[in-house]
Symmetry: C2
Subunit: 412 residues, 2 copies
């Protein structure tokens, strides 16, 4: 994927400016691997931002009088992260952007106003230093805004698939305005009778993840036993509901009483438990699955996977969606019970949503009516403003979110 | 599977009798879970065995004069094993057996003379104490002969699928004569223009394992890169040759210079290396697979699997056939790099041959001509006599065998 469309504000000031992001100085310059769309001179930028306020809509006019320069708050990754990410690994700055498609990038690109941003566990991997080819997505570029899934409104389009005023979801920047050149990763939103934020979750990447992961990867059959870890999260809550709709026996685990209550009372899981209160995960799973687990939807990894392997049934399937317990460890935990894969003839399959985007239309046909008929429900954990985004993202890895973690950049 | 057909000699004497297996006393009795076919009285048995010699064909006549009682050497498991198995975990005794199908078991059963026995890594799991449902095969019963794959000649048949004089391969006992009631696990041998011992290997369970594991589980395509560990073993040598026939690039690893030479010079692998001489397995694999591995045929587990996971390509497949490095550890090693399963969208699938026996005919149609035309070759490591069987089986786990480990019980 090409993330070079993301405008770059190279931060030169240090931490003492973080208290008020509006006072952070923005220097002009092109990050080694990125194009900049900032046309400010250093002094002009300092002046403009010095005068800016959170109400300021038009920051300044620089150069030709017809160029509209808008304030553009951005969430910047300071440097690659190892260990547990902290809020201070990110910086909320206020740069500015020219409110038009830049010359040369207009063909095929779109200029969008970002509305909702999605906090997803896979983003942890992108904060780390990785080598090309290690994964299907590249690392974030330190000094540049994060990128990720979001819902946005098209302000200007150089791509015939989109027109001004369209709502879209897909990969955008963690900022107020983005120029998106990789429009093949954007989906036009047709159904607007559901909350737009749902396109960061149930109707977006997590939704297609749950759908493809369960129906395609797990090969589920009616009556089978299904275990979902991190079950109240963006994906888990849907997998459990899909499995119930198919007629499976479904148990979920989560990390608080509140989440366990959600699983049982809102999402209709047959059983749920708080893994933090279980001294012995193997025994806990044996209690809920005396005959063993046919399908494990894996979001956690580590000790949980080890306990599951001992409780799988012959010919069981493990859809490996995520391993959130491992992402922040310097050295991942060892998984010791993999010989069960042979003796029980298990299939473990890792997958990512983009490999299943061809199913998106079919997925919508199933899930939109199910939402409207109340057969499927969805819980979001919404925070307001880009300033709240770093804490929201970091909170994912501490399990602070209850349901899908969404950041509101703007509601319109 | 039902192993209750295996005749039971319950050993009551202790280790001081082991020096000469012919002097071990055999007591009469029925093991809690097994039927015995021994009709000897304790005293008569002691007397018969006291008089026996290795040349003795007919040990004694007991009871009705028409009953022919044959010497029946057996390899008995003393007790369940933890850690590395030792020769002394097994005992070679000389019991005797009535040379006819026992009353009541004649319908559907066959009496066979065992010719060749197969030493297979999966047998290690059966030496351990396991619970029903832990695996697709049960543990061995301490005090009873081991069971496993072998080639045998039918002496008497109560199953219309087999007749006297037929050669068969399948699950039999580690003894000279066996009554097999689970005849659904027996295959009649039609092609006898290849060595009969091949039906413990290339034309038996290891052959169908390699065939199903490679063609069915790995979903291979011409031009893909294939890595095989334990590559000179019964299964690995075939997988490498199948992959070469399909037009793949194939690298194998083994544990000695002799085996590495075999891989390159006899089996035609593109490259091979001695894993014991590699200080860094990740770097070694990177050297042989600069663009990554599409298919890993897993026979080893542990550190090898960890190194492979870091070298897999996106959408790679890992056929998990065995993990021989783990079978003798009190606590299996941890595998740390499983998050690669997600980021690289890998499929890991454990499998066992019996799930693919429906392909046996198709497999023979492919492999027998290939053997006869010299397109596929096979190397066996043959030891003579049941007395050599415990050392041969234990040797598997130290990598002492070069090629398929076979025990000759009798050549006709």
């Amino acid at each position: 994927m090409d993330y070079s469309h993301v405008s770059c504000a190279h931060v030169t000031q240090t931490q003492n400016h973080r208290a008020d992001p509006l006072t952070v100085l923005v220097s002009i310059g092109t990050h080694a691997t990125l194009q900049t769309h900032l046309h400010l001179e250093r002094e002009a930028a300092a002046e403009a931002i010095g005068k800016s306020s959170s109400k300021l809509q038009i920051a300044s006019f620089i150069g030709a009088a017809e160029e509209v320069i808008m304030r553009n708050k951005q969430v910047i990754l300071r440097d690659t992260v190892s260990g547990f990410p902290k809020e201070s690994d990110m910086l909320v700055i206020t740069g500015s952007t020219e409110l038009k498609l830049p010359e040369g990038s207009s063909s095929g690109a779109v200029l969008v106003k970002n509305l909702y941003l999605s906090c997803d566990p896979y983003m942890r991997g992108r904060m780390a230093k990785r080598h090309p080819g290690d994964s299907y997505v590249n690392s974030f570029n330190p000094g540049s805004p994060l990128t990720g899934y979001g819902v946005a409104k098209v302000l200007e389009s150089g791509d015939p698939k989109f027109k001004q005023g369209d709502f879209v979801w897909g990969i955008t920047g963690w900022e107020e305005y983005s120029v998106i050149t990789a429009t093949e990763a954007l989906f036009k939103i047709h159904n607007t009778d559901v909350p737009l934020s749902y396109y960061t979750g149930i109707l977006g990447m997590p939704g297609i993840t749950a759908y493809a992961g369960f129906y395609e990867v797990c090969s589920p059959k009616k009556g089978e036993t299904v275990y979902v870890s991190a079950a109240s999260g963006a994906v888990g809550q849907l997998v459990g509901q899909f499995a119930k709709l198919l007629g499976c026996y479904v148990v979920g685990s989560a990390g608080s009483k509140e989440k366990v209550d959600l699983l049982k009372n809102k999402f209709g899981f047959d059983e749920a438990f708080n893994y933090k209160e279980e001294p012995n995960l193997v025994a806990a799973l044996k209690r809920y699955f005396p005959e063993g687990i046919d399908i494990y939807f894996e979001n956690v990894g580590g000790k949980m996977l080890d306990a599951v392997l001992l409780n799988m049934r012959i010919h069981g399937r493990i859809a490996v969606c995520g391993m959130i317990s491992q992402y922040n460890l310097e050295q991942p935990e060892g998984v010791h019970n993999l010989t069960s894969v042979i003796s029980k003839q298990l299939r473990m399959e890792g997958f990512v949503a983009p490999s299943y985007y061809h199913l998106y239309g079919k997925f919508l046909e199933m899930v939109v009516p199910a939402i409207n008929e109340g057969k499927i429900t969805y819980v979001e954990d919404v925070v307001e403003g880009l300033e709240s985004a770093p804490a929201a993202l970091v909170g994912l890895f501490a399990g602070r979110n209850v349901g899908k973690q969404v950041v509101v950049v703007s509601r319109e």
